[in-house]
């Protein structure tokens, strides 16, 4: 039996195959086909020469949803909403994200008011009906909407999280009048209060609906043509996977499908290696994603947005920064050296690619510093020209007096590192975590090259560099569990309710969750559920998430748990009355994980030594050995300065750091001489 994970990136589509019988992995890469990613996916499967008939599980990280939103290429969306609230999407939250610019403009809504139609109906916060839905008026309204065949409709009524009856009735009416349309209701996309965020998430879902259905249909057809017979799974933003049917219905759940694979892989590796607290740093060509993992738990948030649009589906808490290998170094009007967010991308690429790029990038700087090997072909295709890199750096240096070429190159790398450090501080220090309590897990093509510099800035002591850092995200999709996050807004003041009521509410959501997973073929014994409650003191307006494990089985226990969380996060707790405002259940359908093969390479370090070259560290060149990673003997220890190269990635060890080869071939980089 074989498992296949495919991750579609901006430049390459990566695939990983795990062969259960041989306990072995194989990797392949094909150029991505941005117009229709199916081409790249099928191409990479061809390169693996797989018998798809023998594949048991196919998991796919998609970026089509993210890109459609960022590029504004989604469907024409229409909206039905409660009378009096036509402008919820356009008024939005009224906040101004850009300060000190009189010309900054509000993001225009995905559904303009011309495509928003009001319907006479009104629910209240407790689910009671203030005004019944006028179905006759609704049918007349639907009849006069001048819609196109590939359009989508979002049905967004106030307080539908408390009572979805009107939204459901409206959906039935639409399905009768406009069969074949992509229709979704706000309560099915996100049954939580705060209408702007729920409506926005629902509109995004409708915006992606037709596109995603179309893509996944083509993909399924392409896979079927290769005689793949099992379910297709899609990586979802919450770090799990879902069935393709669900992804078609809730495409908004896939917008962080790409980075989710890496985070899932990180958790898996952290568990195997006994390192529960990780900060991941996935550095690619144009950007870097960082993520903080505490106690091997996926950090899930529902307070994010994409392209200025609120998206409240549960998603892994990723902090993205526009600094990667291709990021361009430049001077602003004030003569200040900056790196990124502009990127040379794949075309023209860094100056050293020799494809017409003239501006110095982080990759050029690393080449000039000897950290990248001019002979090493990135992804096996592109030769690097150090002279072009140096010329680009020199051009910039002419405008920054008094700095030598190498010092400037080192400066470019340091600024890129500073931006990543700042991103990591935001997810760690700003949230009350000390990065020194975490292991830095560096992957993506450029991650391992900058890992030590990042760790030094943050005073982190240890770094993990997984095997195959460039394919880590695809590997992650292989080992991801099915995951569904359910949340229901329901306000219960603790002094007015009973534990039985709380328990019954959780139990109802759990039952729904389990049934849904069983419906997708997950055996009951493989299903795990985890409860949490959104709670606050009466009078507060934002809730805190409190985990509710089985040990908490009474109201006093729940109160104590909330007080503890409040104290930990906010530095104080009070005797005030509390309320639960939302009930959340994560349902996980566990899949078997591939067991990683042991690293069995024999021989000595000398066998792995492929060259020596001068590498620039802290202001001067030092002669450094260059090792070939796949020939490093098991349990080897390497002291800095040294460079460890492998296909698609380079690990750089300065003086004062050393690396050890771990059981499965991963590198542990730590402070101290060998």
């Amino acid at each position: 039996m074989q498992w296949v994970g495919v991750d579609v990136g901006g430049t390459f589509t990566d695939a990983v195959v795990y062969d259960d019988a041989k306990r072995a992995f194989r990797y392949a890469k094909a150029p991505s086909t941005p117009g229709d990613p199916t081409g790249g996916v099928l191409d990479v499967l061809d390169r693996l020469q797989l018998d798809m008939d023998q594949v048991e599980r196919f998991v796919h990280g998609v970026t089509i949803g993210t890109n459609a939103v960022l590029e504004g290429k989604g469907a024409t969306v229409w909206m039905l909403t409660t009378a009096g609230f036509r402008d919820v999407m356009e008024i939005a939250r009224t906040n101004r994200p850009v300060l000190y610019n009189i010309k900054s403009l509000k993001t225009p809504p995905l559904v303009p008011r011309t495509r928003t139609y009001e319907v006479d109906e009104r629910m209240l916060y407790d689910g009671s009906i203030k005004r019944p839905l006028d179905e006759a008026e609704l049918r007349r309204t639907l009849a006069r909407m001048p819609t196109g065949p590939n359009d989508a409709l979002a049905i967004c009524f106030l307080h539908s999280y408390a009572n979805p009856a009107h939204e459901r009735a409206a959906k039935r009416a639409v399905e009768a009048s406009n069969p074949g349309w992509f229709v979704c209701t706000s309560a099915e996309v996100l049954p939580q209060f705060r209408e702007y965020d729920r409506f926005s998430t629902t509109v995004l879902n409708a915006y992606l609906g037709p596109l995603m259905a179309n893509y996944l249909d083509r993909l399924q057809a392409g896979l079927a043509a290769k005689r793949y017979r099992r379910d297709v799974y899609i990586m979802t933003s919450n770090g799990g996977v879902s069935t393709v049917e669900r992804a078609k219905r809730l495409p908004i759940g896939t917008v962080l499908s790409g980075p989710a694979g890496g985070v899932a892989a990180s958790i898996h590796l952290g568990r195997l290696l006994g390192r529960p607290n990780l900060i991941t740093c996935d550095m690619g060509g144009t950007s870097t994603d960082v993520c903080l993992i505490e106690g091997l738990r996926v950090p899930v948030t529902n307070e994010q947005s994409i392209a200025g649009y609120s998206n409240r589906t549960p998603q892994i808490e990723i902090n993205a920064v526009g600094a990667g290998g291709g990021s361009i170094a430049w001077l602003d009007a004030g003569g200040i050296l900056n790196v990124g967010p502009q990127s040379a991308g794949a075309a023209p690429g860094p100056a050293c690619y020799g494809r017409g790029g003239t501006e110095p990038t982080v990759t050029d700087a690393n080449l000039v510093l000897g950290r990248l090997d001019p002979g090493n072909r990135l992804a096996g295709r592109i030769a690097l020209d150090p002279e072009l890199a140096m010329a680009a750096i020199r051009r910039l240096g002419e405008r920054l007096l008094g700095l030598g070429d190498h010092a400037l190159a080192e400066g470019i790398v340091r600024i890129a590192v500073a931006r990543m450090v700042s991103a990591i501080k935001q997810i760690s220090i700003s949230n009350g975590f000390d990065p020194r309590d975490f292991t830095l897990l560096a992957y993506g093509g450029a991650g391992p090259m900058h890992a030590v510099a990042i760790a030094e800035e943050l005073e982190m002591r240890s770094i993990l560099v997984p095997l195959g850092p460039g394919n880590f995200a695809a590997f992650g999709s292989l080992i991801s569990d099915l995951r569904r996050d359910y949340a229901q807004t329901r306000t219960l003041q603790l002094r007015e309710t009973t534990w039985a009521e709380v328990e019954a509410t959780f139990a109802r959501i759990e039952a729904e969750a389990r049934e849904s997973l069983r419906g997708e073929g997950v055996p009951a014994e493989r299903i795990v559920t985890r409860r949490s409650a959104g709670m606050r003191y009466l009078g507060q307006s934002w809730e805190l998430s409190v985990e509710v494990p089985p040990a908490i089985a009474s109201l006093p226990a729940l109160e104590a748990a909330f007080g503890e969380v409040h104290d930990r996060r906010f530095g104080h707790k009070s005797g005030g009355n509390m309320e639960v405002v939302s009930f959340r259940v994560a349902a996980i359908g566990e899949v078997a994980k591939p067991s990683l093969p042991d690293w069995t390479v024999g021989g000595t370090l000398v066998d792995a030594l492929q060259a020596r070259r001068p590498v620039f560290f802290a202001g001067a060149f030092a002669d450094a050995p260059v090792y070939q990673r796949d020939r490093l003997p098991k349990a080897a220890r390497i002291g800095g300065p040294a460079v460890i190269e492998e296909s698609g990635s380079t690990t750089v060890l300065p003086v004062g750091w050393h690396a050890s080869v771990l059981q499965y071939g991963d590198l542990l980089v730590e402070r101290g001489e060998t």
Partner: protein
């Protein structure tokens, strides 16, 4: 402006560019961490939901060295408060001391904004970089819940005034002061939580600052800071130097009611560009009045700074270096430099009028970089009472955002907080609000025709209607621009002004003092209707592409009447633009504009008022009839300069037809000379049951 002296950049040691960036970014990261702490720990929803607070780091002389994503209206006046705190306790500060203040006369803004200053010292006892926090406490006492009152006549009605006091001494809380404060505020336990949040943020900053200094050295850090401020200063100076030297004048108003009669107060600016610096002189601005239209020079100056920075140099850093090229002057005890014991609750309005007058002057220098006037008020609405269902006191508070001015490239955004605000929402989610308070939201829609018409239209405001579900409550609002609408530039029209009313059964209750209400008793099923102002337009509406007017009509931003009368666009019965009829109508509207010839009259004092000052315009009876105006009607004059001049009509028996006398200041505002002609437009005013003040 706002500046203490520079921190010795001249003798600063050189710092390599990389360390420079790392240190400067590091300081901003500390501010970000402070912000995260405040949001997490505060009790006032205004702080953690509406983000109504700011954090910054200061140098030993009180200069602001780092801030982050902070509300400009808060953070820009913050150095003034810090300086007052340092001045008061100079020589008497010890490690562990923390100074609290909210005194609008001593570096505060309005009383709700409570500032904590936390000086830090090195081992030798010298001040080093230190933090300060300013946060909006939802109530600081005073005569109405929320402490916002549109009709206060002195500061004692607005809440507890805190001059700089040590609230912590050597790390120990000053219990006496704390008890006194808490005894005079509503829901004191929440206020104590707010104070703890600010203190916690300062402690976090202390830890980080000390680490930064330990890592890079005190001298390097201070040198990096000095270089950073200097380059920020240089950047802005270079931009200013590109502007033509000269004096530029503008005037505008705030709306004061003297004994219930409208008595507008004058805001005047002479903005001087001299080489690479700007001097903003408010000479001639109205003396302070016993009404909520006064604030400090820190606040009015913040408005000027925002106007300059966000037109001339968007994107540049904001720290003390950016303040240095700007000097501020105002008459003492004026509405822009308030002194004891005038009310000072109008900081939002004064700041916005600071923006308006600066924009009006800047428009004469660089019309391509400015916009029409902003919506012009922060519009805080509050309903307070006892919530039966949830068995607790509540203060409902919303400040529905208005429109923004149109500008060269685009229409202004609608219902979008202005550039002098931070990144904060102005309204609640309906679903959260209805769950938490005895409030039912009837509608929330954009205001058709709310934006000033123009080649680029002003953004529209919103109309938000809330119904009270409990038996009784108390409604207050403090706004401006409820009479004088935000102006357009370059021939564009005004935004529709703010308006509030109460709908009771089938009756609409209007207020005698538009936009200013204190503690009006509302009862069950009353609907408070809040309408926020639109932004001013940009450019002649008759030049607006008819296709855009059609889109506006389709979107409902503009009514059919306004499309025809304001934009001169005619549609065919099928709804398409009728090009020929449009051209004809536009020609007719253009020709029909009422023009008068200026007669220079430098002996004229055009201003009247009881405690206020408003410009009067003497029209002949015949001209008044032609224009359709009567005495005390509001008119607007449009000259060569982009921004208009407002005045109230005085029908002069001996006035010469076709001619209008104008003083020198008025001519400078309009950029017109003797015998040149100007367009005169009638502006609507809400009905006033009482005559204007004399």
């Amino acid at each position: 402006m706002m500046t203490a002296k520079s921190i010795g950049a001249a003798n600063a040691q050189p710092v390599d560019p990389i360390t420079l960036e790392v240190v400067c970014e590091g300081l901003i990261a500390i501010v970000k961490e402070m912000r995260a702490t405040i949001i997490r720990a505060s009790y006032s929803s205004v702080i953690y939901e509406f983000d109504d607070f700011s954090c910054a780091l200061f140098g030993p002389e009180g200069e602001m060295v780092a801030q982050s994503w902070d509300h400009p209206g808060h953070v820009l006046p913050l150095p003034w408060g810090v300086r007052c705190a340092l001045d008061d306790f100079r020589g008497d500060l010890k490690p562990g001391d923390a100074i609290l203040l909210n005194d609008p006369y001593r570096g505060g803004t309005h009383l709700n904004d409570v500032t904590l200053v936390y000086p830090l010292f090195d081992e030798a006892g010298r001040l080093i970089i230190f933090p300060a926090v300013r946060a909006h406490w939802v109530d600081v006492g005073g005569m109405v819940p929320g402490s916002y009152s549109g009709l206060s006549s002195n500061i004692y009605q607005e809440g507890v005034r805190i001059p700089p006091i040590k609230i912590f001494e050597a790390g120990r809380p000053n219990r006496a002061a704390m008890s006194l404060l808490m005894a005079n505020m509503r829901v004191p336990e929440e206020r104590e939580g707010d104070l703890n949040a600010s203190f916690g943020a300062c402690k976090v900053a202390e830890n980080r600052i000390r680490k930064l200094i330990a890592k890079y050295g005190q001298e390097t850090v201070m040198a990096a800071v000095a270089i950073n401020l200097d380059r920020t200063e240089r950047r802005l100076r270079e931009k200013i130097a590109e502007l033509p030297d000269g004096d530029y004048y503008y005037e505008d108003y705030l709306e004061f009611y003297n004994e219930g009669r409208l008595d507008p107060v004058l805001a005047r600016i002479k903005l001087t560009v001299a080489g690479d610096q700007i001097i903003a002189d408010f000479a001639g601005t109205n003396p302070q009045v016993p009404g909520v239209v006064n604030s400090s020079l820190a606040v009015a100056g913040a408005g000027v700074f925002v106007a300059i920075k966000s037109t001339l140099d968007p994107g540049g850093a904001v720290n003390h270096g950016a303040f240095r090229p700007i000097t501020l002057k105002a008459p003492e005890a004026s509405i822009f430099d308030v002194r004891q014991d005038a009310p000072a609750g109008a900081h939002g309005e004064v700041r916005k009028r600071g923006v308006s007058v600066a924009l009006g002057a800047l428009a004469q220098i660089m019309p391509e970089r400015i916009s029409g006037d902003l919506c012009g008020s922060s519009f805080p609405n509050a309903i307070g009472g006892y919530n039966k269902r949830r068995q607790r006191q509540y203060v409902y508070y919303e400040a529905p955002a208005g429109g923004n001015g149109g500008f060269l490239e685009a229409d202004g955004s609608s219902a979008y907080v202005n550039v002098d605000f931070g990144n904060l929402p102005s309204i609640h989610n309906v679903e959260a609000l209805e769950n938490e308070m005895p409030i039912f939201v009837e509608r929330c829609v954009l205001r058709t025709d709310g934006g000033g018409e123009g080649q680029r239209r002003g953004g529209v405001g919103m109309q938000r209607e809330v119904r009270l579900l409990d038996a009784e409550g108390s409604y207050s609002v403090l706004s401006d621009r409820a009479v004088l609408p935000p102006w357009g530039v370059l021939g564009a029209g005004s935004g529709k002004p703010y308006h509030v009313s109460v709908r009771r059964d089938n009756e609409v209750i209007e207020f005698d003092t538009p936009g200013k209400v204190t503690g009006y008793p509302v009862r069950r099923d009353d609907v408070v209707v809040m309408r926020s102002s639109g932004g001013g337009g940009y450019g002649d509406p008759l030049e607006r592409e008819p296709a855009r007017v059609k889109t506006d009509l389709d979107f409902g931003y503009v009514s059919a009447e306004r499309a025809r009368d304001g934009y001169g666009v005619v549609f065919t019965p099928a709804g398409e633009v009728d090009e020929a009829a449009t051209k004809a109508l536009r020609g007719k509207l253009q020709a029909g504009r009422f023009r008068l010839t200026i007669k220079a009259d430098d002996a004229l004092d055009p201003y009247v008022g009881a405690k206020g000052k408003r410009r009067m315009l003497d029209l002949s009876a015949a001209d008044a009839a032609k224009l359709g105006v009567a005495a005390d009607d509001l008119v607007e004059l449009r000259g060569r300069n982009p921004a208009p001049l407002r005045a109230w009509v005085r029908v002069a028996g001996n006035g010469r037809q076709g001619q209008v006398p104008l003083d020198e200041f008025g001519r400078k505002v309009l950029g017109v000379k003797n015998r040149e002609s100007v367009v005169v437009m009638k502006l609507g005013m809400p009905p006033m049951p009482k005559a204007m003040a004399r």
